[in-house]
Symmetry: C2
């Protein structure tokens, strides 16, 4: 057993307990949804004491937020979508990024869990808003050369096209959209997303 200092443990301590908790949290939220998941259940699945979960994260909402953030940190941190090229290519980069997350089985499961939780629960919806919408979409809005408010509205309508397409293709599985070639879908959606961002309908 490692010797614990008082106060917040450093992330390198605990044999990856924090990571194990986050992995367990993602699986629990994915399987049970936000409402039916408990800190105790997450602790049990991670093989740690509930107190350690509270110690690292605090509330269930905070564990949820952290597990969402970790799942998408690599993606959100990648400057490719927002800063990785000219503004008139943001539509296509954002579209490819979103479908990339959904097409990848590793990220699809936690994303589906987040969508389900956000649709079912106000608290989870708030986490979704803050992390996904404000972090990713806010950065795109910041690059648009239009009034505040107007930029955010355009970005949210662009996001709506992406969210809706993902819902119908991956969640509700509406045909022929669910089986359409990814490139075909991207080539139809990207210009629409770009049109929203540029304010051209």
């Amino acid at each position: 057993m490692t010797v614990r200092r008082r106060g917040r443990p450093a992330r390198s301590e605990g044999g990856g307990a924090r990571e194990r908790i986050l992995d367990a949290a993602r699986e629990e939220f994915a399987e049970r949804g936000y409402e039916k998941t408990s800190v105790r259940g997450i602790a049990k699945a991670a093989g740690v004491d509930s107190a350690l979960v509270h110690h690292y994260f605090g509330t269930k909402e905070a564990v949820f937020a952290a597990s969402v953030e970790v799942a998408f940190a690599p993606a959100l941190g990648v400057p490719g979508v927002v800063e990785g090229g000219p503004l008139d290519g943001v539509g296509e980069r954002l579209t490819r990024f979103v479908f990339g997350v959904w097409e990848n089985p590793v990220t699809r499961a936690p994303l589906l869990a987040i969508v389900r939780s956000a649709v079912n629960n106000e608290t989870a919806a708030g986490v979704f808003r803050r992390l996904i919408v404000e972090q990713l979409l806010g950065r795109i809005a910041g690059r648009l050369d239009v009034a505040e408010g107007e930029a955010e509205l355009r970005v949210s309508l662009a996001a709506a096209q992406l969210v809706g397409t993902a819902m119908l293709r991956y969640v509700i599985k509406v045909e022929p959209l669910a089986s359409a070639e990814l490139e075909d879908v991207v080539s139809r959606i990207a210009p629409v997303v770009q049109g929203h961002l540029s304010g051209v309908q």
Copy 2:
């Protein structure tokens, strides 16, 4: 007590029991979601015996389908959206129809229940696909003068814009979209919906 004939009761019998069951079902599905709702719970809420629910509808899935259908029958039956004008106005009519349903508190609650159930449960997703997508969207696809398959794909991408906008505005409540003036949202979304239908991006 009314004298019951054998076999399927006529709809006029039973003091509106069928309607009471459907009302109760809508409320139960809205409150508990598809999975946690039971035929017994619906029967209890409607003040009838479970056997009567089975008699009228059969399975829980069938009660769900019927309650969805009844909630949207007036809307789906209205020829206004699909046949009520020139094809180049379908985008705006469809957009106004969808937002009309969401803006109306009476239809918003059952719709939200359907969306939640469809996102959480494969069976409910199937009901959603058949009733909403195939009935409404299939009729629009039938009016497009392009190959089958292509028409359905266009319609589903148009629907994706509407579904996503409704999700972000009414369910996740992303700002400034959630508080934007309805007319502003319609004027930005309708041309995009029309663009999908016409195949112009």
